[in-house]
Structures are given as structure tokens and as C-alpha cells.
């Protein structure tokens, strides 16, 4: 709380600030409110009103029922849930361990490891989607290169009479969609920052008590890190949920697509006629509800855990 009211008359400033915040909140809420109101209108009223209107329609449940029965969004919601969970756990688990190693151990490769991870923050997945797709379409590709380059393939061809070519596609699988999103080390910096704030004597005391590095991690560092772990888990869950370009190419069958992709595909299908706008708006709320609720409920914990102020 900044309260300079004792020194100066802050009332007019506060009034201006209130006005700004009202404008900001309205700006953020307006599209959501329009979506919510339209989602309650039956298609016929929507057409009669000639489009956007602010009249509540009372057909929200009917529209939702249509979403559940006529689209695959429910199944796709399950896919999103699974993929986002896998991504969050992989990312946080790895980054926690990597940051632990970076902070508490002296090693020759520390600087190199740090450099290897910094690069993944600079070049997001959407930037390299073309070649990542090729790799996920055949994860055995590097193996084939190695066999080719070492001459092993040549030898096999001589002996067996055929040239081996391995092929394993991870497209249309949860893991294939999740792993490239998870191959990113942003959280290393968050955990590193957090570990550096822990008392320097902590590891020394643990060693004196005879605790090894794994014991120290599980019994001391892990419980202390609850706040950043929860925050990063939620943050990456939401991030993976809202991802679009990669899940769009990584899964081609509706049964494997995420909810965000599935909704966009529904919108795609009827471009020329007047679209089923109320249904689409209901769908937009349907696919956004879970992550928005998470953020709204856990806002404080996320902001505190990501430790955004001290970077």
C-alpha cells in the first residue's frame, strides 16, 4: 500500500487512478462479456437481431449441450488436460533438477550447461515448427544419420543386402505433442533465482549433518520450494493449454487434437454462410474455462512464486 495521503492531497490522483483501472478492466472484460452474452442466445434470435446484441437469451445450456453432443470438444478437452499436465510436470521436474545442479554443485560443465539452456528461451517452438515437425514425424531420423555417417549402413548393406531405414512417428500422440513444448528451460532461471535466495549455510549444515546431495534436495530444498513449484506448474499448464501452432500440426486427427485447435477447426468449417456465432462463443468459453479459473483463483500464488519482481 502506497499511502502518501498524509503529505499531500491524493484524492484527485486516486480518482484518476480509479478511472484508469475501470477503463482497463472494461477493456479486458468487454470481449469476454460479449462472448458470454452471445453464448446465451439461440441462433434464431441472433439472426433476427442482425448480429451482436446485448440481450440475454437463456439458451446457454442448450448451446453447451450442442457443444457436447455435436462436437468433439469434450474429448479434446481431455487431450488438452493430458498434454498440459505432461508438459508442466516434465518442464518443472527437469528445470528444478537442472537449477539445483547449477546452484549447489561446482562443475566443469556448469557454464556450458547454462549456455545450452539459455538458447532454448530465445527461440520459441513456433519459430522452428517446420523442422520440429519433421523430427517428430520420424524420431529415428538422427539414428539413420548416425548409421549413414559411421558407415554402419554401408556394412549392413554389404552383409544383409538391404539398407536399413528406421521410422518412428510420434505425431498424433500425447508425448509427441507434449515433448517439444516441454523442451524449454525458462523455469531454470526462476528456480536458480529462488535457490540463490536460500541461506548459504544451508548446504553446509546439511553436509555436517551427514546428508548427501539427494537427501538434501528431497528433505530440505524441495519442501522450501513449494511456492515456485506450484506457480511454475500452473503457469506452464496454462501455457501448454493455450498453445496453438504446434498442436495444430502435431495432431491431425480430431480425436487427438487439443481443445483450442478443435474449436478453431469448427470455426473453419463454415466460412461462407453466417456462422453459428452463439455456438462458437459457447465453445470459446468452454475451452477457456479451466485455465482462466486456475489463473483467477491462484493469481497471488503464481505472481509470488514466479518471483517476477526480482529479476
Amino acid at each position: 500500500m502506497k499511502d502518501s495521503g498524509m503529505i499531500e492531497n491524493a484524492r484527485s490522483v486516486d480518482r484518476a487512478a480509479t478511472f484508469i483501472l475501470v477503463a482497463g478492466i472494461s477493456f479486458i472484460l468487454l470481449p469476454l462479456v460479449i462472448a458470454a452474452i452471445t453464448a446465451t442466445q439461440p441462433y434464431e434470435t441472433f439472426i433476427e437481431a442482425g448480429g451482436l446484441s446485448f440481450a440475454l437469451g437463456g439458451h446457454f445450456l442448450d448451446n453447451m449441450e450442442k457443444i457436447l453432443s455435436e462436437t468433439k470438444l469434450l474429448r479434446q478437452l481431455g487431450n488438452s488436460l493430458a498434454i498440459a499436465t505432461i508438459v508442466a510436470i516434465m518442464k518443472v521436474g527437469f528445470c528444478f533438477l537442472a537449477a539445483y545442479a547449477l546452484v549447489f554443485f561446482e562443475g566443469k560443465f556448469r557454464r556450458a550447461l547454462f549456455a545450452v539452456m539459455i538458447a532454448t528461451v530465445m527461440l520459441p517452438l513456433d519459430l522452428r515448427v517446420i523442422t520440429t515437425y519433421q523430427i517428430v514425424a520420424n524420431v529415428a531420423m538422427p539414428l539413420n544419420w548416425i548409421l549413414d555417417a559411421t558407415g554402419a549402413n554401408w556394412a549392413i548393406e554389404k552383409v544383409a543386402g538391404f539398407r536399413p531405414y528406421f521410422r518412428l512417428s510420434l505425431l498424433d500422440t500425447y508425448f509427441g505433442t507434449a515433448a517439444p513444448i516441454a523442451a524449454n528451460c525458462t523455469a531454470v532461471f526462476i528456480f536458480r533465482q529462488f535457490f540463490l535466495t536460500l541461506p548459504k549455510d544451508l548446504p553446509r549444515a546439511a553436509i555436517m549433518d551427514g546428508a548427501g546431495p539427494i537427501r538434501f534436495m528431497i528433505d530440505i530444498v524441495l519442501p522450501l520450494s513449494k511456492t515456485p513449484i506450484v506457480a511454475t506448474l500452473l503457469f506452464f499448464f496454462v501455457g501448454a493449454w493455450t498453445n496453438y501452432l504446434w498442436p495444430l500440426v502435431a495432431a491431425s486427427t480430431p480425436d487427438q487434437q487439443t481443445a483450442v485447435v478443435g474449436l478453431a477447426r469448427i470455426a473453419d468449417s463454415d466460412i461462407d454462410e453466417i456462422p453459428q456465432v452463439p455456438l462458437l462463443m459457447a465453445g470459446a468459453l468452454f475451452v477457456s474455462f479451466i485455465p482462466v479459473a486456475m489463473i483467477a483463483v491462484m493469481q497471488r500464488q503464481i505472481v509470488r512464486g514466479l518471483n517476477l519482481s526480482s529479476r
Binding site: 502506497k2 480509479t18 483501472l21 479486458i28 522452428r128 519433421q134 493455450t242 483450442v260 456465432v277 493469481q299
Partner: protein, 275 residues
């Protein structure tokens, strides 16, 4: 996990540069070394340069607007008034909504016949039509990107503002510095690290995050007016099966982004800040 990072980060990055020197046939039809021919082809393509300029313009306008608006909101919320708490909660919501989902809502809101501006179009026919007018389409895209970009910047800037010691603000007020003066001479200078962070994140973010919006709102149209580079790469690679061209553009875009981020970090080292 390190293997996963090599597999799904380093190999794709390497592959983009590697393929940019080969003529890659779709469906695994073999490849052929062609030297700089792909680069020559891409760099002499008018469409590539148009998409590049549109991307650069977007990289200036979207982060600039989003961070500017967020800064004003954060300064207001930092005053600790009654609305501060709800604002902190609600303004972060868009972070949890996919661009591709809110894009559908914005398509509807900006629809020339069904949306918010439909009455205006009745009065002045042809005033607003993002389906025909490229500038209108670009503006809707920018608007949606700013909406989606505000929450994270707002939270970072607000967290930064709240670490500025109260005593500083009070001392300044005692010396007769009004709220404006304090914003310009104390709060914004002390906010440099956070402002820097938001610019780095928004710069990279605006290059790639626009994809979900473009794909659902304009599909790059009308007449390519909203085809940013990330969308062009997707169309070239996945619709036209021009793998070499797409890989070459990927390599160029990655280089541009890496150089820009590196420059920003150089800049940060120059700007020394102490608290």
C-alpha cells in the same frame, strides 16, 4: 530430458540451417545440395520482404502499445486503491485464453455486418471492413495482440513497482514532487529492469504468438495484408510443401530474433541500475 532438449530443440534448429542449403523434396524424395540457391530464391521474393516488413512493424507497434498501456494500468493499480485488487486479478485473465480462441471472439466483434461496428457501416457504407481492407485487418490483429499481451506485462511491471521502497516515494513527496514528477523521476527509472524484461519477452512473443490470431481471424488476408513471417512459413511448409523455402525462412527468422535478443542484452548491460 537433456536428450529431449537435443532432440526437439537443437536438432530442429540445426536442421533448419542445414536444409536451407539443400533442395528438400516433400514426402522423403531425397535431397540435393544447392549452396546458397535457397537464400537467393527467398531473398529475391517480394512476398518474403513484404511479410518481413509487416512482421517488423508488428514487432514495434504491438509491444510498444501493450507495454505502454500496461505501464499506465500498473501505475494506477500501484496506488493501492479499492479497485487495485480486482484489477490485479481480472487483468491477468487473458493470459489463460488462447489467441486462437479469443481470435474467434474478435472476428465476431469486428465483423462488418454482425459486429460492434455494423451500425457505423449502415451509416457510412464501406467505412469498416477487415475482410476487404488490409489496414482494417492489420488493426484488428494488432488490437487482439495487445489485448492478449497486456496481462503478463501488467503483472511484471506491477511487481516491479511494488518493490520500490515506500520511503523513497514519501521522501520525494515531502520534497514537493507531485505524482507526475515521481512517476517520471523515480518510478520509471527504477522500473528499468522490468521494462527491459517485458520488451525482450514481448519482442519474441509478438513474432510467434500472432499466429493463433492470424489463423483464426484473417488467414493472412486480405491480399496478404496480415501475412506475418511466421504465418508465411507455416503456409509455405505445410500447405505448399516447400520445405527448403520454409526452412530457409525459418533460419533467417531465427537469426534475426537471436540477433535482436542479443542486442537487447547488450543494451541492458549498458544501462546500470542500482537500488
Amino acid at each position: 530430458m537433456l536428450a529431449l532438449i537435443v532432440m526437439f530443440f537443437y536438432i530442429p534448429v540445426f536442421l533448419a540451417f542445414f536444409w536451407s542449403f539443400f533442395l528438400e523434396r516433400p514426402f522423403g524424395g531425397g535431397s540435393e545440395f544447392v549452396g546458397f540457391q535457397n537464400f537467393r530464391r527467398v531473398l529475391s521474393d517480394q512476398e518474403f520482404w513484404r511479410a518481413m516488413w509487416r512482421t517488423l512493424l508488428f514487432m514495434v507497434l504491438a509491444p510498444g502499445t501493450a507495454i505502454g498501456v500496461s505501464l499506465v494500468l500498473a501505475l494506477a493499480a500501484d496506488r493501492g486503491i479499492r479497485l487495485s485488487q480486482p484489477a490485479r486479478n481480472i487483468i491477468i485473465w487473458p493470459k489463460a485464453i488462447a489467441g486462437a480462441s479469443i481470435g474467434l471472439v474478435f472476428v465476431f466483434i469486428f465483423n462488418p455486418r454482425l459486429g460492434l461496428f455494423a451500425p457505423l457501416n449502415d451509416l457510412f457504407p464501406g467505412l469498416w471492413n477487415p475482410r476487404i481492407d488490409g489496414t482494417d485487418a492489420y488493426l484488428t490483429l494488432l488490437f487482439a495482440q495487445v489485448w492478449n499481451g497486456i496481462p503478463f506485462n501488467f503483472i511484471i511491471l506491477l511487481s516491479g513497482l511494488q518493490t520500490i521502497p515506500d520511503s523513497l516515494t514519501k521522501a520525494a513527496a515531502m520534497d514537493g514532487a507531485g505524482p507526475w514528477r515521481r512517476i517520471i523521476d523515480i518510478q520509471i527509472p527504477l522500473l528499468t529492469p522490468q521494462l527491459f524484461l517485458t520488451f525482450v519477452l514481448e519482442f519474441v512473443g509478438s513474432v510467434v504468438e500472432a499466429f493463433g490470431l492470424i489463423d483464426t481471424m484473417t488467414e493472412g488476408g486480405p491480399g496478404g495484408a496480415t501475412t506475418l513471417l511466421v504465418y508465411k512459413i507455416y503456409v509455405d511448409g505445410f500447405k505448399a510443401y516447400d520445405l527448403s523455402g520454409a526452412a530457409t525462412q525459418t533460419a533467417l527468422l531465427m537469426t534475426a530474433v537471436a540477433i535482436m535478443v542479443a542486442l537487447q542484452f547488450r543494451l541492458e548491460k549498458r544501462v546500470k541500475y542500482e537500488r
